[in-house]
């Protein structure tokens, strides 16, 4: 190879562009932009064709079966009873109202399940990290058992335990003589609110607002001066004291209706069906294992240096936990936590296996069978669940943006 001066371009080095082939349809295939558009148009056509084909099939099938499509059945009387109704409902009410009762029942189970699962999950997750070998092993067994068993099986298992293993009402197991566990359900004291109690509720609301304001002030002072005011104590005093004082001032406005055995069953009190208890508990039991793992991962994700640095600054142990570990691990814990909540809500649809009447039991079950409107009913059920999931995931995205690590 002969030596050439760098940068000096020999005329022969730069051949002009080769004479391009004449335009042809085939050459378009190699143009990325054109190809992209072509693929998209083809895909879109395919999807439209499939959907049109399906709709045509539905129309043809409906014509054969002499069915119509529409939602007017929602305003017809439902003609069936529901054994657990939180809003007023009789079998004369419409299908729509029955569906609402079902949706509220779904909400109830999801709400209770989420609370129990969160408390249990955090406890087990912290036990899992315990210095005590036995405790952490026990938590490990709990987590592995809950996570590796199908949730439907757990629901059936707990339901079976509640209706086959618990005693008859006459030999009911009791907690403190006021709560009774029987194979027909659980009876717990029912709070009775008398006139004047609304003031206590108001006081509680005011105390919560006050506590939030105190918290903000404490934080502002801490960030400005580094002084830590006893905000926790003030808030606690507010939340306990204000409603307590109001309660004392108005006079006893709250009493409890305690269930009592009369004949073969209990009278009074709040009656929880075994289905509600079994479903709530089984869902919480199953989900708590997953939450425990999320909590553990979140706490372990906090950089060791962060903890050491805060100890080096002389922060007391409790404040290290509250100001350094907790905020950083929550950032890791909350996104999977919300998706666990979502899963729990969706899993509550398995209620149908033990006869707890939820949204799938009403709209997707009895209403569907009575009216024969399969497509309409399932569409509505799926839309409701979809709306819940999309709502929760929007919240999660918002939260993620808010707590995202701001890096320089």
């Amino acid at each position: 190879m002969s030596y050439r001066l760098p940068g000096v371009v020999q005329p022969t080095d730069r051949p002009g562009p080769p004479p391009g082939p004449a335009f042809s349809l085939g050459s378009l295939w190699y143009d990325e932009a054109v190809r992209g558009v072509a693929i998209q148009i083809l895909v879109l056509l395919g999807v439209f064709a499939t959907v049109a084909w399906m709709i045509a099939n539905v129309v043809a099938n409906f014509a054969i079966l002499d069915k119509t499509f529409g939602f007017e059945f929602l305003w017809l009387p439902a003609n069936y009873d529901i054994n657990q109704t939180l809003i007023e409902y009789t079998n004369r009410d419409t299908h729509l109202r029955a569906a609402a009762v079902g949706l509220i029942n779904t909400g109830l189970v999801a709400f209770l399940g989420i609370i129990v699962a969160t408390v249990l999950g955090f406890l087990v997750g912290i036990f899992r990290l315990s210095e005590n070998w036995l405790v952490s092993r026990l938590a490990y067994c709990y987590v592995e058992f809950t996570r590796n068993t199908p949730v439907l099986l757990l629901i059936l298992l707990w339901h079976g335990i509640f209706i086959n293993t618990l005693p008859h009402p006459r030999q009911a197991m009791t907690i403190g003589g006021a709560t009774f566990l029987t194979n027909r359900g659980f009876y717990v004291p029912k709070p009775v609110f008398e006139s004047g109690f609304e003031w206590v509720t108001l006081a509680l609301a005011a105390a919560i607002v006050g506590a939030i304001l105190v918290h903000r002030h404490v934080r502002r002072v801490r960030e400005a001066t580094g002084r830590q005011l006893p905000g926790g104590w003030i808030s606690a005093a507010l939340i306990v004291g204000l409603p307590g004082l109001t309660y004392a001032a108005v006079g006893a406005s709250l009493s409890f209706d305690v269930p009592e055995l009369q004949g073969f069953n209990f009278e009074g009190g709040l009656y929880l069906t075994p289905e509600l208890v079994a479903l709530t508990w089984a869902l919480a039991f199953y989900t708590s294992g997953f939450i425990a793992e999320n909590v553990r991962a979140g706490i372990l994700a906090v950089d060791k240096g962060q903890i050491e640095a805060s100890q080096a600054l002389g922060l007391p142990r409790r404040r290290v936990l509250r100001l350094v570990i907790l905020p950083q691990s929550l950032r890791v814990i909350v996104p999977p936590l919300t998706s666990q909540y979502l899963d729990l809500t969706k899993n509550s649809s398995l209620a149908i296996a033990i006869g707890y009447v939820d949204l799938v039991g009403t709209l997707g079950g009895i209403t569907l069978n009575q009216t024969g409107r399969e497509i309409e009913c399932m569409m509505l059920v799926m839309l409701v669940y979809l709306a819940i999931s999309l709502g929760i995931s929007m919240f999660m995205n918002w939260y993620n943006r808010r707590v995202r690590l701001v890096e320089r």
Partner: protein
């Protein structure tokens, strides 16, 4: 123990023999001290745990073994013999729990299929399997072979899908679902990352809709209304319809796991592949997908475990999986009320298989991360 100050002044530097560790800081005693009795609170926790374990284990042994009844004709008969578990209910129906209503003289077929599952799985799961490259061909052929063995035809008598049940049905749903959802899930994940707007929007919609609704609603669609969407008169097997729905459901979740992997590999990998002039499929197949799948494996195994567990939901639309068999057994007047025994037996089966899968995932995660360093 104090140092013998006068006896050892003569060691040259660095030659002093190792001293034993201080007593109580090593060995069993040291371990106990560090892990169980390090503080008052810790000691209290230890005693509470020991008490709990003692209570639980003795009660469990009593119920499961010591007072259990293994042979009886009915529940009443069981209760006369002992207060523990009545395993007779499982013993009399064990065939149904395993095979459903698969004809007794043909049961060698599912057994053979199950046995062949191991040589088919080994090369996929463990990369040090001997003769791996040859065995992989067998793995590839296995789904077709298994389907032929279980369903029949071509010389074997056909067994209708109504007859499948018990753990056999769980395995069919699990294996088919996993095999079929894997390619679909990968395609969906790639579609979600695509540059083409239409493809991306379609994939996102599909994934979010399927992930947003409970599996049970999809199964209801399969069992009650899928026929409306097909030309009049079409009617195909319920098991196939269920398999399609389970596959679509798992594919949506799998797509999210794979997407996590695709997003985790560095941009430089994509750019390097582009600058080499690789086409989209070559780039995906040779550069990005292998790395993404490696990262995504733990998440994917979790999806598979979920799919396997969710296969129990088919009982709600009337298939005879283990829970369906349990339901039939408990409806029998001779055995009703024995739900604890039946459900715990099924729980044991699921626990063993799911625990094995999650252990495998952990093991693999460890191995793959070693390769990264």
């Amino acid at each position: 123990m104090s140092l013998p100050a006068t006896a050892s002044p003569t060691y040259p530097p660095g030659q002093h023999p190792d001293l034993p560790p201080p007593p109580g800081s090593a060995g069993v005693v040291g371990w106990l001290r560090a892990n169980l009795f390090s503080s008052v609170f810790n000691t209290a926790l230890t005693f509470v745990s020991v008490w709990l374990i003692y209570e639980f284990v003795t009660a469990a042994i009593d119920w499961f073994v010591l007072e259990a009844v293994w042979e009886a004709g009915s529940r009443v008969d069981c209760r006369k013999q002992g207060d523990g578990a009545c395993w007779a209910v499982i013993a009399t129906r064990v065939d149904q729990f395993v095979y459903g209503f698969y004809p007794a003289d043909q049961r060698w077929r599912p057994v053979l299929t199950f046995v062949l599952l191991f040589p088919a799985l080994a090369p996929v799961l463990f990369d040090r399997t001997p003769y791996r490259s040859q065995l992989l061909w067998f793995s590839l052929a296995y789904p077709a072979l298994g389907a032929w063995l279980i369903h029949g035809g071509l010389g074997l008598p056909v067994v209708d899908t109504d007859a499948y049940g018990g753990f056999l049905l769980t395995m069919i749903l699990g294996v088919t679902g996993i095999v079929a959802s894997l390619p679909l899930g990968i395609l969906l994940a790639l579609g979600r990352q695509s540059q083409l707007l239409v493809v991306r929007v379609l994939c996102v919609t599909f994934i979010e809709v399927v992930r947003g609704v409970p599996l049970i609603t999809l199964l209801f669609i399969a069992s009650t209304m899928l026929n409306y969407f097909l030309p009049p008169g079409t009617n195909f097997d319920l098991l196939i319809r269920v398999l399609i729905m389970v596959t679509l459901f798992a594919a949506a979740y799998l797509a999210e796991a794979v997407r996590g992997g695709l997003q985790a590999i560095s941009r430089g990998q994509y750019e390097a592949a582009d600058s080499l002039g690789l086409s989209y499929w070559k780039k995906t197949w040779l550069i990005t997908l292998p790395q993404a799948l490696k990262i995504a494996i733990p998440g994917m195994v979790n999806v598979f475990i979920g799919l396997y567990k969710d296969s129990t939901l088919v009982v709600i639309i009337g298939l005879l999986d283990p829970l369906g068999v349990a339901r039939a057994v408990l409806a029998d007047a001779k055995w009703n009320g024995l739900s604890n025994e039946t459900y715990l037996f099924i729980a044991l089966f699921f626990f063993m298989s799911c625990f094995a899968m999650s252990r495998y995932s952990l093991w693999l995660e460890g191995r793959l991360s070693v390769g990264d360093r």
